[in-house]
Amino acid sequence: MLALIPLFPLLGFAINASMGRRLPKGVSGGLASLVMLASFAVSVMVVWQLVNLAPPQRVIEQTLYTWIASGDFVLDLTLRVDPLAAVMILVITGIGSLIHIYSTAYMHEESGPEYARYFSYLNLFAFFMLVLVLGANFLVLFVGWEGVGLCSYLLIGFWFEKKSAADAGKKAFVVNRIGDYAFILGTLLLYVRFGSLDFQRIASAVAPLAPESTFSTLSLATLLLFIGATGKSAQIPLYVWLPDAMEGPTPVSALIHAATMVTAGVYMIGRNAVLFSHAPETMAVVAVIGAATALMAGTIGLVQNDIKRVLAYSTVSQLGYMFLAMGVGAFGAGIFHLYTHAFFKACLFLGSGAVIHALHGEQDIRNMGGLKAGLPITYWTFLIGSLAIAGVPGLAGFFSKDEILFETFAHGHTILWTIGILTSLLTATYMFRLVFLTFHGERRHEAPAPEHAAEEEPTAHGVDAAQPSHQLHPHHSHLHDAPPAMALALVVLALGSVLAGYLGIPHALGGGNAIGNWLAPSFSARSVTTLATGQVAEAGQEAGETVGGERGLELSLMVVSSIVALVGIALAAFIWLKRREIADRIAAAFPGVYRLLLNKYYVDEVYDATLVQPIRIVSQEGLWRGVDVHIIDGAVNGTASVIDGSSSLLRRLQSGSVRAYAGSLFIGVVLILGYYLWR
């Protein structure tokens, strides 16, 4: 039963990859969507089984076969669903299905074989992602972890004839490899320490230990795992690939680079919550990195002009929130935000896809504006998504973000809370800048704006040069709103953006924080049943205390963050709706800051100068021209020339004189015989 969940997408992949080019588009796209829906149906059934179990027993396990048996090391290919994995599989198959359906319309301009290739990649991605979240040990998780990286590479570079897309794919792959390397090291370290790779076994081995007070094995192992997570989930310092990943088709950005794959790092920490909470040093690093990433990406998002790049930085920023939650020990809050974020960020990405689709490839928001009338469905769903991500009370983002901020404050991390609330302001502002510049006002064609010509980032020129066709179209005549398949996905996701949060109404508002309680067993060691129930009870008790003691605090923090969200929206409305010249004036007043943000803090340039170029030079001049050409080729050529030289000496012996040969033969015989006779 459990194995069916990943196997359905794998079946879709196999069919589309092998026969896709001969199938009509409707069949290949429909098949891909159908297998996702089937997988979703099975997931719902599995989760329903899970719900009917008592909370401490909520685990369904299926061992497919023994994968590796080598001496003492035995590893089973085991799939396991617990409350955490249940949330993940519902998100992946549910939102995944919607995005597949959306894609059938979005990609309709591709030729048949390309269309099938796209859907085969998308199905393959879903398969690996499901393996990632269902795997019961580190190695199965790692298979999924690498697989989604591969699919991400393939899909970012889907339009590989375009150099920027091919480069972005390679960049994503290489940056991810760096993280994956650390991940492998962390896994090996855990195996050495605990002799097992199974999550539950490691958790129950760790549970009785005291948290590490100094930096030692557990801290090192978790830190290495976290480095892996920074690669996959686009955190400082390995976040640089995600904005470039927007070269891929927009539904891919929605599925892989917003809703599912990039949350794999958060999931991985949640999966090893017991382990991580025994390494306070790592937890501090996680929290600080998360907060720093959230703030930094938020500031960059404020000035970007590409609609998808703004969303990409917004994703990085929201992932930072999730890691902040993980780092302060609020695992439930982090996963809750992961789950709500999947809805509204997928909604926003698909909305931006609908805009790009309507404008025939235009992505620069300076060339948009006034699209509200022409694209009503897109506008309203995008608006709902923006309200949700901004944290307006009553929508999904409000509950989850508030939970994170409250937990951060309650755990005593006041500085991190301040950064979080500041990021929240930024989030509201840049999201509504996007909404207002895209949908409100008049239709514009001002990229590159003359007054900014000197500060134009090169990519904006590239986009313009690559998309000259839209200039030929009369302004409003060709606007067509999302076709039915796209509209369906948008509307469902917008509904989700409103409703998803009600699973986790905090105690302070009279709710039960249902999702928090649901997830709690996943964050404790469960193998010793009594211990697990004890901890669950403890968790419940803790929550109970929250109701009593900190209700006032939570409410006031909630008010603060709501006000911040509304202020952010108002600020955006004032600047970009009423007085657009203010934005230019601010930019002109702080040219240094503006340029710094526009160029993304020059992080790419710094990496290029400090890492990429030195590696290039070392590889090219040292390893290639030095080691390969001189040492390796030198050894081969040297062997040959030594033989050549010694033979040219030896060949002088071949004089051609028969008597000389006979003489040497004779002397040789005499010498040998003489030796044996007189020795």
């Binding site: 060949r651 071949q654 004089s655 051609g656 028969v658 008597r659 006979a662 004779f666």
Partner: protein
Amino acid sequence: MIPLSHYLVVSAIMFAIGTAGVFLRRNLITILLSIEIMLNAVNLSFVAFGRSQGTVDGQIITFFVMTVAAAEAAVGLAIVIALFRHRESLNPDAFTSLKW
């Protein structure tokens, strides 16, 4: 009875003559004849050893050597004739085209 050492001395002298012939003569046919002398020197010592040991082994091996020598002489002469047709010379120093 003539002692073994006498035979061996004769054999050594014949062998030395043959060797000297191989080295000193400039005619391929003479060189072949010198080789025959060396072979017969060896045959003589074999037979002498066989006689002094009281076995037939020396004589048997001598028959083999004679057979091989006959074959060698036939092949050698054939080669010499072929070479002579090619170069109009029997001087071994004329045949150096296999030299590098």
